[in-house]
C-alpha cells in the first residue's frame, strides 16, 4: 500500500515558540522543546516524526515562515 510520509525542519534559531503550529497538526507531531534557542524561545520540534504526513498545516499557519516541509511516498 502506498502511503505518504513527511518531515518538517524547523529553523530553531528563528522559531519564536508561539506554538500555533501545534493544534493545527492533525497527528500531534509537534511540541515545544524544553530547551531555549539563543533568543530565549522554546522552539518547536517533532516529538513524533513518524506520524507526520507532510500535510503542511503547520507551515501554513507559522507566522515566521520557519518550517520547511518534506513529503515522500513510501510503501508499507
Amino acid at each position: 500500500m502506498a502511503k505518504v510520509t513527511g518531515r518538517i525542519v524547523v529553523d530553531t534559531e528563528q522559531c519564536k515558540g508561539c506554538g500555533v503550529c501545534i493544534p493545527v497538526c492533525p497527528f500531534d507531531v509537534i511540541e515545544l522543546a524544553k530547551e531555549f534557542n539563543s533568543k530565549g524561545f522554546h522552539y518547536a520540534y517533532m516529538k513524533n516524526p513518524e506520524a507526520c504526513t507532510g500535510c503542511m498545516n503547520c507551515a501554513l499557519v507559522c507566522p515566521d515562515a520557519v518550517i520547511k516541509v518534506y513529503r515522500k511516498k513510501v510503501r508499507v
Binding site: 510520509t5 500555533v20 513518524e50 503542511m56 507566522p63 520547511k68 515522500k72
Partner: protein, 261 residues
C-alpha cells in the same frame, strides 16, 4: 532509533521539499510578536507575487502600525506612508504608473480610523489597486488601545472596562461599507489562523492581483487577525478567542465579487 534516523534522512531531501519560505521574503526575521498574523499575510503576499512573477512590476505601501517595517521583509520596491494615507500614495503611484501592480497593507487603526477618508474615496473612485486590511481589533503598535474595530465590551488599554458602545461608538464594519461602493470589484473577509483559511486568503490575494491586471477596480481584502500582545493572551488562546468572538461579528467570506455584485 537508528532506523528512524535513517528514514528521516531519506525524506529530508531536496526533491521531497513541498513547502519552503518564498524567496521574496528577505532573510530578516520578523519583528512581530510570536504568533502574530502579520507574518502569515506578509508571506502569502510574497508567495502570490512570486507565483504571478510580478516582482518587477509591483510597488507596495507600508502603513503606520506594527507592520510599519513591512519593507524590511518584502523584497519588492516599497514606500512607507504616513498613518492612514497609504491609499492616497497608491493612487498617486497607480495613476502615474498604470502598468504596475500596487497594493497597500494596513491595520484597522490606519485604514478605518485616521485613514477613513482615503480608504472610502480610493474605493469609491475604483482605483485599480489592492488593499490588504489587517483587522486585529486593536492598536497593536502603540500598546493595545481601542481601534474602530474593537468589539463591544472588548477590553483595551483605553477601554479597560470594555468598549462601551454608548460612549465609544460601535465597532465599524468598514468592509461592509466599501462593498457598497461602485468602485470596488472584489471585497472579501478572510482569516489566517487555520490552514484552510490560509489557503483561502492566498487565493483571494491572487484573485485581487488578477483583477488589478484586468483593470476591474479596487480589490479589498480584510483579514481578521490576532494581536495576542494587545489582547493579553497566548497565541493559541488568542486564535481561539478570535474564532469565538471576532468571527461571529466579522463573518468570513466574499462580500462582493465581479461575478456577483
Amino acid at each position: 532509533m537508528d532506523e528512524q534516523q535513517a528514514k528521516t534522512e531519506d525524506i529530508i531531501k531536496k526533491e521531497n521539499l513541498v513547502f519552503d519560505k518564498t524567496k521574496l521574503l528577505t532573510d530578516k526575521a520578523f519583528h512581530y510578536c510570536p504568533g502574530c498574523g502579520h507574518g502569515v499575510v506578509h508571506r502569502l503576499l510574497m508567495e502570490v507575487i512570486e507565483e504571478l512573477d510580478i516582482q518587477e512590476k509591483t510597488i507596495g505601501i507600508a502603513p503606520v502600525g506594527c507592520s510599519v517595517l513591512a519593507y524590511h521583509y518584502m523584497d519588492i520596491d516599497m514606500q512607507e506612508a504616513a498613518h492612514g494615507r497609504a491609499p492616497a500614495l497608491a493612487t498617486g503611484i497607480k495613476r502615474t504608473l498604470p502598468e504596475k501592480y500596487v497594493f497597500t497593507y494596513q491595520g484597522d487603526g490606519d485604514l478605518a480610523a485616521i485613514g477613513t477618508a482615503e480608504t472610502i474615496h480610493s474605493c469609491n473612485r475604483g482605483e485599480n489597486i489592492t488593499i490588504i486590511f489587517i483587522n486585529n481589533g486593536i492598536y497593536g503598535m502603540t500598546g493595545g488601545q481601542m481601534a474602530p474595530t474593537t468589539l463591544e465590551n472588548m477590553k483595551s488599554s483605553t477601554t479597560p472596562y470594555g468598549r462601551n458602545v454608548k460612549q465609544m461608538g460601535n465597532p465599524l464594519k468598514i468592509t461592509e461599507l466599501v462593498a457598497q461602493l461602485p468602485g470596488t470589484c472584489f471585497v472579501t473577509r478572510q482569516a489566517v489562523h487555520k490552514p484552510a483559511y490560509v489557503r483561502k486568503t492566498k487565493k483571494a490575494i491572487k484573485k485581487a492581483f488578477k483583477y488589478q491586471k484586468q483593470e476591474m477596480g479596487l480589490s479589498f481584502i480584510e483579514i481578521v487577525s490576532n494581536c495576542n500582545s494587545g489582547w493579553k493572551m497566548t497565541p493559541n488562546d488568542a486564535n481561539k478567542w478570535l474564532e469565538n468572538n471576532m468571527l461571529p461579528f466579522y463573518p468570513l467570506g466574499d462580500l462582493k465579487t465581479p461575478e456577483k455584485k
